[in-house]
Amino acid sequence: MISLYVGSTSGYSGKSLVSMGLGHKFKKDGFRVGYFKPVGILPIKVNDVLTDNDAWRIYRALELKDPISEICPVVLTQELAVKGYLKDVKGLLAKIVKSYNQLSKDKDIILVGGYGSIYSGGVLGISGLKVIKRLNAKVVIVVKYEGEFCVDYILQAKKDLGDHFIGVILNKVTHEYKQGVEDYIVPFLKRKDVDILGILPHDSIVGSITIEELNDMLGGKVLCCHDRLNNLVEHFLIGAMQVDRATEYFKRTKNNAVIVGGDRADIQLSAIESGTECLVLTGELYPSEIIIARAELKDIPILVVRDDTYSVAKKLERLSVRLRLRDKAKVARSTDLVAENVNFPLFYEKLGIKPQPR
């Protein structure tokens, strides 16, 4: 039985995406796969059992059958965080090991999902490193590629992990970075004895968000087209220009949401006519009935939020670094992304196993 820890050097690097994609591929290659998340940070109750939202989604996507209560033994709720700050919470590592043992009984590979970076977890006394050593896991590091400085973190992680470390997957490599990664980063890492197990390109569908999530994040009210809240938004545009420029600007980008003051009826209309996915009206200003009627006709949801346009934009910028795999279309896309861009022969070699076609 192999324990594969999917970790990273910083939060929101794409660990869940990689775990999900690896899990699918392993299953396809005939392995009995399990998923385990020692520490969850997105509490959710499923049938009154406390677990982690990401773990729960991966569990379902991989069609696993293990007891839900074991897939994420420690969930960082507000409650637990407060307790952790006020005094040391004991027995958590033991709890993790117990659940892990139960899950791993009849598996070939257990994917262990890290949270935050491999160094996170101090508050509860259970950092990623500690868990990795205790479970004797092999570790693949997922890095969201945002420039050269990430190589330092990779080398540090390799050093800290020692024999546990098997290689890195560079994620979200944008078109602009691709050449530089191929020309410099890959040869450099190879020279430093770091195996590159995959390079995943940036993908706009994976980077998208449903309108419903968007509305939740912004604390807005949906005024129309409630049946369209599962539509995906890939880009955000701000409607602050003169109206004669607006239509052209909106049409240039597909699957956009337009953020605009609630009193700018002119911009709202041109956004609707140019076929935006969603209108986000700011300043708690409600649009006229004419706007709502037009939007309904074109199936475009309208959200009204309290923040001003700048604050909304600021929130959305932060949001883009912590997108979650919620939507079916996104899950399918990310599975494909991993299958196509990870070097599985090398991966299996590093894990010391061979595919077992059934």
């Binding site: 997105l42 509490p43 959710i44 109750k45 406390l50 709720t77 507000q78 409650e79 407060v82 307790k83 939740d216 994040m217 604390g219 807005g220 003051g261 009193d263 300043g283 708690e284 200003l285 309290r306 001003d308 932060r318 912590r322």
Partner: protein
């Protein structure tokens, strides 16, 4: 006051011109042709004589004393002229010249220089960028208006000169007289307030009219307008009211306020009669200038046709006037001369075949009725009526009795001679019945204003020191918003009762708190980064058990951590759930010109949609609080509908007064909302369920 302007001993026109069509020419011409009897000195370095008067190169060359300087030289030269005025001991100037503040930064600089120079020189001035001024009694017309208004008792000041001329021209056609007209221009020195005061003291002025686009010092305006309006009717048309500035506000009160609300409140509190259009300004002026005030709200309508009578009755219904039934004796009197099919009740329909005599008798009879405070006489030009005779009849009676009579002889061509007669005998005639009604209504309001008792301002002093520390601390920490506990402390000190509340950091603490407070409870997220808790699902109500409280704790905190991962969660507030009662909102906002305003509304979550709110400028009196509550359309809901018990209205009024005191004590408050304030049954008080405060500035 300002006598040098209105009755100058002599006038110099600096910048007088020989060329017809130039301002310097027209002003001089107006002075001469409208009969000013004292000396006039045209000043022009290139002319020896203009319009038959000896011209001088400069005022320094005029041998005799000069009372008023009228300045129409290019803007760059105005300061210099003011300097010369000082040398000549001239203390009053009307500056016609444009090209100052209204024209950009260069002009602004010139205007600042001008103000400085005038201050140093002790010269007071009207303008610049104005049309001039007119006094019909002293025959001074230092304006370039076309024509001279008739002598009359309406004093009119206008920020817009052009609008002023249009009104004067209209008045000429209608034979309406003015006492004074002042075009205010940029108001760089003499302000609206000074002119209002001057007109209030002017014996020739009975009614003051004003057109303003803005005020520079709201408090000063309020103070002066209140004094002036107690002496004479002050009718103002204010333009340029938009809702700008409301968008950025984060409180309900802030979002609902706006320039309109501020001016509306200011006018109400200072007894200003507000006209909403030039037409109304005119209509009101006519009524106030010519008729006595009604001593109460009861109006009788006399008409020769049904339709206009009903229109007038409908309009009365929308106003505060009352269409009272006539006294039995009056009805009996009417029966003696009206045909049996006439209507003897109010409106009194004297039928289409009525002639002048029937009008005269009916009007006389109705005016004898003690219950009737004012009469509106309507006439449509039927074939049988002699309009002029009817006008004379109405005018005769009107001048006998000290009650207001307004008429609407409807139509134009066949009405005009009658209308002229009515106007001649000081009976205002309006084209439409609604105008007569709204004018009488304005007079009734003014009657109430001047007969109002002195207002009472209850003192809730002595509380300030206790909360000063809180505001100081917030300021020291460079915060704008006050925390929940700070707001709680402040409201507590000022005597607001609030739900029992305890902060819980864990679900165990939450359960213990709920048990201590007693089920059911309300739970709210507490975080300095979260202002609108319910927007992000941070509020749960009506929680009845340990399990519900535990679950709610998990749901609320998880949701907030998810949506706002960077927000610090202080905990969850467990609060007593107040049941029953009606939700109202009250709040404070700060207007750029008038300072603190207070708002009241019936509301809860729908307040921003319904906008059923009233505003006053702080401080408010007991009477203001009383009116504020009753001004809202939904007030009957507080009284109780369909057998409900009455809400504690007195407690609302007291809360408004306390809030007003709080704003008075702390000028640094920029916004405050108590929303909702739950009003319990009469005698049981109010509870401030939720509130926010923000401070700023000094």
């Amino acid at each position: 006051m300002l006598n040098n302007f209105f009755s100058p001993k002599s006038i110099a026109v600096i910048g007088a011109s020989r060329t017809p069509g130039k301002v310097g020419y027209d002003i001089l011409k107006n002075i001469i042709q409208y009969g000013y009897e004292e000396a006039v000195y045209p000043i022009n370095p290139e002319a020896s004589e203009i319009l038959g008067l000896k011209a001088y190169p400069s005022i320094l060359n005029v041998p005799n004393e000069i009372g008023l300087a009228v300045v129409a030289v290019p803007p760059q030269r105005v300061s210099e002229v003011i300097g010369q005025c000082r040398e000549r001991g001239i203390s009053a100037a009307v500056i016609i010249t444009a090209g100052f503040r209204e024209s950009g930064s260069e002009g602004t600089k010139l205007e600042n220089e001008l103000v400085k120079k005038a201050k140093e020189s002790g010269v007071r001035f009207i303008g610049p960028n104005c049309l001039g001024m007119i006094d019909t009694h002293s025959r001074v017309n230092v304006s370039f208006a076309a024509g001279m208004p008739n002598k009359g008792n309406i004093g009119f000041f206008s920020q817009s000169g052009a609008l002023g001329i249009a009104v004067l021209d209209l008045a000429l056609a209608e034979d309406i007289g003015f006492s004074k007209f002042i075009s205010m221009g940029n108001k760089a020195d003499i302000s609206d307030e000074e002119i209002m005061q001057a007109l209030a003291e002017d014996d020739n002025t009975k009614v003051i009219l004003g057109y303003i686009e803005g005020v520079s010092d709201g408090r000063k305006f309020l103070e002066v307008a209140s004094q002036v309006s107690k002496k004479k009717p002050l009718i103002i048309l204010k333009s340029g009211i938009t809702r700008s500035g409301a968008k950025a506000a984060s409180s309900h009160t802030g979002a609902l306020a706006g320039r309109e609300a501020a001016f509306d409140a200011a006018f109400k509190q200072s007894g200003v009669i507000r006209a909403h259009s030039v037409g109304e300004l005119f209509n009101y002026a006519l009524a106030f200038a010519n008729q006595p005030l009604p001593q109460g709200p009861n109006v009788a309508i006399i008409t020769n046709s049904g339709g206009p009578g009903i229109l007038a009755a409908d309009a009365s219904d929308r106003s505060d006037l009352q269409l009272v039934p006539l006294h039995k004796q009056t009805v009996g009197e009417l029966r003696t001369f009206l045909p049996p099919v006439a209507s003897f009740y109010n409106p009194i329909d004297i039928l289409g075949d009525a002639g002048a005599e029937r009008y005269e008798k009916a009007l006389y009879a109705v005016l004898q009725d003690k219950k009737v405070h004012g009469v509106i006489v309507l006439l449509t030009p039927t074939a049988v009526i002699d309009v002029e005779a009817a006008a004379k009849a109405v005018a005769n009676i009107a001048n006998l009795i000290d009650k207001p009579i307004l008429t609407s002889f409807m139509g134009r061509k066949s009405i005009e001679p009658g209308s002229k007669i009515l106007m001649k005998y000081n009976v205002p005639n309006y084209s439409y019945p609604e105008e007569a009604v709204s004018s009488l209504n304005a007079m009734y309001h003014y009657h109430l204003w001047i007969n109002e008792h002195d207002k009472t301002y209850p003192d809730f002093g002595g509380l300030k020191e206790k909360v000063l520390d809180i505001f100081n601390k917030v300021k020291e920490e460079n915060r704008e918003r006050l925390s929940e506990s700070e707001v709680y402390e402040i409201l507590k000190t000022y005597g607001f009762s609030q739900p029992k509340s305890l902060l819980a950091r864990t679900s165990d603490e939450a359960v213990a708190a709920a048990k201590g407070i007693g089920y059911p409870v309300v739970m709210k997220i507490i975080s300095p980064q979260i202002i609108h808790k319910s927007d992000i699902g941070g509020v749960r109500i009506n929680l009845n058990s340990k399990k519900e409280v535990t679950d709610a704790f998990f749901d609320i905190t998880t949701r907030v951590r998810h949506i706002m991962p960077t927000a610090h969660i202080s905990g969850v507030m467990i609060q007593e759930m107040i049941r029953g009662g009606k939700e109202v909102i009250m709040g404070i906002t700060r207007d750029a010109q008038f300072g603190h305003m207070i708002m009241f509304g019936l509301g809860g979550v729908y307040v921003e949609v319904l906008k059923d709110i009233s505003f006053r400028i702080i401080p408010i009196s007991q009477e203001d609080a009383h009116e504020m509550v009753r001004e809202t359309k939904t007030f009957p809901l507080l009284r109780g509908v369909r057998g409900e018990t009455e809400a504690d209205i007195e407690a609302i009024e007291k809360s408004l007064l306390i809030l007003s005191q709080l704003a008075l004590d702390f000028p640094q408050i920029i916004e405050a909302d108590i929303n909702p304030l739950l009003v319990k049954k009469r005698g049981e008080g109010v509870v401030a369920v939720d509130a926010r405060f923000a401070i700023g500035g000094d």
